[in-house]
Symmetry: C2
Subunit: 143 residues, 2 copies
């Protein structure tokens, strides 16, 4: 199963490197602009392949679609529930390196996702309401 260097694969990789924590759909749109008839299945397939070989990172999100990261090394993320954007959570370190045994569990990966309001959205809410109001907007507009 030797890997082949296809245009589609290169375009997907480019998109992940260009966009900020995009999901598959955003990658699809970006790649479609350069190769109009690419299939969604091809985008999904290549995202998985690239993640598998360590070229990109795969971020499992608690809500909505998985996202992809130009940085393959594991790190923690923050998802804003208002604008939907995903940020690197620099304020918290990755728990510990893996693979590694902990209490008999063979830990192969660790996913840490914080959620709440990003600084920009938090500021907006502070102006409008006393407490942190409820707003659930999917990330269709966010980057």
């Amino acid at each position: 199963m030797e890997r082949r260097n296809t245009l589609q694969r290169r375009l997907v990789l480019d998109a992940v490197r260009t966009l900020l924590h995009p999901d598959a759909e955003e990658v699809y749109r970006a790649v479609s602009a350069k190769k109009p008839n690419i299939s969604r299945a091809t985008v999904y397939r290549n995202l998985h392949l690239l993640a598998e070989e360590g070229a990109i990172g795969e971020i499992q999100t608690g809500e909505g679609a998985d996202r992809y990261d130009h940085e393959a090394r594991r790190h923690c993320h923050f998802r804003c529930r208002a604008c939907g954007k995903m940020y690197d959570a620099a304020f918290f370190p990755q728990p510990f390196p893996h693979p590694r045994y902990e209490d008999g569990f063979f830990v192969e990966s660790c996913n840490v996702e914080f959620a709440g309001l990003c600084p920009a959205c938090d500021k907006k809410y502070q102006n409008k309401e006393t407490d942190h109001g409820q707003a659930t907007q999917r990330h269709k507009d966010g980057g």
Copy 2:
């Protein structure tokens, strides 16, 4: 919108307390045994309601369906990729209490999910292969 004490709600709560980190489908099956014509929508609705009022915990998983926890207090989890079971990750503490500000981010929640092989599955693999072999089985058989 005062809450009413329905049989369906009680059965859903019972199921979450009886089963170990079940997903909605497992709750549905358990409740169906006692009330055959319950709707899946009712199960989903009540799981959300119960989680919202803090009676149970909701666990966002990186793979597959969300799971529910008789323990409402936030804690970290471990998902075995071989048998699909979900365990409490006692070896790692919940990052920090929330809500709380970190670097300007208003952190409302934190989800930590470890994944790998549970002690039982790890032992199986050690017998069969030198390294930790690849096996991806969905949790249809696991509890």
